[in-house]
């Protein structure tokens, strides 16, 4: 059993070591880094990317990819404002509706991918442009502001001293880890990514699973958008631009194979934390933003490289 665990978690172990090393170095660079305040705050800042990375892990484990999450994020954000201000819906209803629209947009991706057998990269490249265009067209580039105070509790408030969105993220993280690791749905996800034909031939509901996964990806992007709007108190149609690259980087850094079939939610969590720790820690130790980007790119390649080299003599 330990042997199996080792094999399954090899990348996670490498990543964990990297993370610990990074944390130690970063903490040595700035006394502000290793403080509860800073760490909790980082949790707040990474909540949106973190949330979207969870369904993205599923997507990539099935061998797919979803480039449209940033655009769905923008679309949901804009619609939250439009539903609430222009259509006069009560804010809670508008929130739910905006999240649902995200889910529908995600289902749209899933539909194109399963029904027409369009490769996910292309399908979501198309909807990346399409959903962003809709967001811009619908909003006519106007921002919606002036939300009631209670709404900001979601993105700016705290529960038991921990940022509220961090709770949401932790709950979603546990649920995602549970689903992918322990349930029949998780097994189906891995089976699809390893060998979609064999999964289909084994009587698994492949299309339904993919539809659900892409739908969830959109839904969570919508949820993240609502949280984000609450954090920054305004909606704009350009929100979430380029978000997909951050999310995919975190997931791939977390050891999920871009070819599918391999990856864990725990790995994604580690990848996320490593990324955020680098962003924050390097900034605190005086490295500028552009330098941080370089380091993250290099760490991404290095992590996969090390993983490849180690697995070569493993298998």
């Amino acid at each position: 059993m330990t042997l199996v665990l080792n094999r399954m978690l090899r990348h996670e172990v490498i990543l964990g070591v990297l993370l610990v090393a990074a944390l130690i170095v970063l903490a040595g660079q700035s006394e502000h880094f290793w403080t509860a305040d800073n760490l909790l705050n980082q949790g707040r800042l990474m909540a949106e990317v973190g949330l979207i990375a969870l369904p993205m892990t599923f997507v990539i484990v099935t061998g797919g990819i979803d480039l449209s999450v940033g655009s769905i994020f923008g679309l949901s954000a804009i619609l939250l404002g439009v539903f609430w201000q222009n259509m006069g819906l009560p804010l809670p209803v508008a929130m739910v509706a905006a999240i649902l629209v995200g889910g529908i947009a995600g289902l749209g991706n899933g539909f194109i991918i399963t029904r027409f057998k369009v490769p996910p990269l292309i399908a979501t490249l198309a909807t990346l442009a399409l959903y962003r265009g809709l967001a811009e067209g619908i909003s006519q580039a106007r921002s919606v502001r002036g939300y009631p105070d209670w709404f900001f509790g979601l993105g700016q408030g705290e529960v038991l001293g921990v940022p509220s969105q961090l709770w949401i993220m932790i709950v979603c993280f546990v649920i995602a880890a549970f689903i992918l690791g322990l349930t029949t749905f998780g097994r189906t996800t891995y089976a699809i990514g390893s060998n979609e034909v064999a999964a289909r031939f084994s009587g698994l509901k492949v299309d339904r699973a993919k539809l659900l996964i892409y739908g969830a990806s959109g839904l969570i992007a919508g949820l993240a958008a609502v949280i984000f709007v609450s954090r920054v108190s305004t909606t704009r149609s350009d929100m979430g631009t380029g978000l997909e690259l951050d999310v995919i980087t975190a997931v791939v850094l977390g050891g999920t194979s871009i070819f599918g079939g391999r990856g864990t939610v725990i790995g994604t969590g580690l990848g996320l934390i490593l990324m955020q720790a680098l962003k924050n820690g390097l900034a605190l130790s005086g490295v500028k933003g552009d330098g941080t980007i370089v380091v993250i790119g290099a760490v991404l390649i290095a992590a996969i490289l090390i993983g490849n080299l180690l697995s070569r003599d493993g298998d």
Partner: protein, 514 residues
């Protein structure tokens, strides 16, 4: 006469499995040297070593007296060795002409590829294969399997080869095409080319070969001039044991009809099929490649839902529009291609065995690992899967054990109808007998078994009834006692039974084994 090719003491292992053990044989110029052996005997591996695709672990290959060790197929080709592969290594998006000349295309004075010469050459080659109907400008992806085979052969011929290796070139060809090909082979031979010819069609070998070498389970059995052996000799050299063991069919009394299919059609590949399978009965389906057998199975199993017709289980009509539907109706399908359709190769035995019954071993969607583990251990024991344990990845198992995993996965669903497509393709003789025994035992327990096989001995040895398909239709039906190789073979190829040996090419493997 000096030897064109000499292979001496060649061994090769893949991981823990030793697939070739000290093989030696030789080929002379202007000779057709048949290579014979059961599936899994190591013929393909041996051919790949000669063709430079893989390297031998031990031993030596000498070409025209000089020791050679090819780093790549291109190097082998440069030395005048051309190969027609069994698994048709073509480029579906490229044209016929280009597929033939890729890698050694004619060039113009300026070094550009000469497409006109390429197309003219391809045309000429195909004409010499009596295939004037094949358009050199169409993409290979649009061709039928038989036509792709012709392209593959033309590709090998396009090299100015001293030695041509043909790996079951006639397997997918109908009678007339096969004869046409044999003419081509003879022409090559007369020109002084040495030919390694792999085929299961014994009559073909007798008509064509000068000498024959037999392999069994990766070992060299012997080389004989064709005149010195009979079919019976070759079969016993190949199989090396009594056939009774290979086909341990237990006589059963079939019970109620479980599966009934009425006028089932799928597009134009499955035409108006009607059949019944009863409990405890094994119904074999024979036919050539492309006869629509697998397509029929896929339609019953819901991968390609029927476009018309009816499927009945226990006399009640059912709708099967997905494999999931079929699974719920207790229909199981062990597919033709283990690697790509049957198994999740990177996953463990445990994960594969539970794949089709995940919902049943789950409590509130959570997979019960303990139950899963015991299921896997039971399967390992019951099916005699040779593995280090439930946590071994299936890609590390041998072909026969992989097939047992697929079978175990489906038996776990407690099916009432079991469809097996090429159940023993590419697995060694011992495992073959085990699979057959399992099949027989399952039927004995009341399963309705529908078996598709291209190995006529298997069909004849295991079936209670034999159906023959051709062109997507069922063209003949035999009871076990009436199913002779001649009769079934003739039905498959639409030739009259009792025709001469050469004109009754049996499109199946090891036909004369019975």
């Amino acid at each position: 006469m000096s030897n064109l090719l000499e292979v001496s003491g060649v061994s090769k292992s893949f991981g823990p499995v030793k697939v070739l053990k000290e093989i030696s044989f030789d080929v002379r110029p202007g000779e057709v040297h048949a290579l014979l052996g059961e599936n899994g005997a190591g013929k393909s591996t041996l051919i790949k070593i000669v063709a430079g695709v893989i390297n031998a672990d031990e031993g030596e290959v000498r070409l025209e007296g000089k020791a050679v060790r090819f780093a790549s197929p291109r190097e082998a080709a440069a030395h005048g060795i051309a190969t027609v592969y069994q698994e048709l290594l073509l480029f579906p998006d490229l044209t016929v002409a280009e597929n033939i000349y890729l890698g050694h295309a004619p060039k113009t004075r300026w070094g550009a590829l000469d497409w006109n010469a390429m197309r003219a050459g391809a045309r000429a080659l195909l004409d010499s294969l009596d295939s004037p109907d094949l358009d050199v400008d169409t993409t290979v992806g649009k061709l039928s399997v038989a036509n792709r085979q012709r392209v593959e052969i033309a590709k090998a011929l396009s090299h100015d080869a001293k030695l041509v290796i043909m790996d079951e070139p006639t397997a997918a060809l109908a009678d007339a095409d096969a004869r046409r090909l044999m003419d081509v082979v003879k022409r090559l031979r007369d020109r002084g080319v040495g030919i390694i010819y792999v085929s299961h069609r014994l009559p073909e070998i007798f008509a064509l070969a000068d000498r024959v070498t037999v392999l069994r389970d990766g070992t060299y059995v012997g080389t004989k001039p064709i005149g010195e052996v009979t079919e019976g000799d070759l079969v016993s050299m190949m199989v090396g044991r009594a056939i009774d063991h290979l086909f341990p069919k237990v006589d059963t009394t079939p019970g109620e009809t479980i599966l009934e299919v009425k006028n089932l059609s799928y597009r134009n590949t499955v035409n108006d099929i009607s059949l019944t399978v009863r409990a405890g009965e094994i119904v074999g389906i024979a036919g050539l490649i492309g006869a629509g057998r697998t397509e029929l199975a896929l339609t019953i199993f819901g991968i390609t839902p029927a476009t018309s017709g009816e499927i009945l289980i226990d006399g009640k009509p059912v709708t099967i529009s997905s494999p999931d539907d079929a699974r719920r109706l207790k229909i199981a399908y062990v597919p033709e291609d283990r690697g790509s359709q049957g198994l999740i190769r990177p996953q463990t035995v445990r994960e594969n065995v539970s794949l089709a019954i995940l919902d049943r071993i789950a409590r509130a969607f959570v997979v019960d690992r303990r139950q899963e583990g015991s299921l896997a251990r039971q399967a390992i024991e019951r099916f005699g899967i040779r593995t280090r344990g439930p946590e071994q990845r299936v890609k590390q198992l041998s072909g026969g054990n992989q097939q047992k995993v697929v079978l175990a996965k489906w038996i776990a669903t407690e099916p009432r109808v079991l469809i097996m497509d090429e159940p023993t393709r590419g697995i060694d003789v011992g495992a073959k007998a085990e699979i057959h025994a399992l099949m027989s035992r399952l039927a004995g327990q009341g399963l309705a078994v529908l078996m598709i096989s291209s190995e006529l001995p298997e069909v004849l040895g295991m079936s209670d009834r034999v159906l023959v398909m051709r062109g997507g239709r069922i063209v003949a039906q035999f009871d076990r006692k009436d199913a002779t190789p001649d009769a079934v073979g003739a039905a498959m190829t639409a030739a009259k039974a009792g025709a001469s040996l050469e004109s009754a090419p049996l499109g199946f493997k090891g036909a004369a084994a019975l």
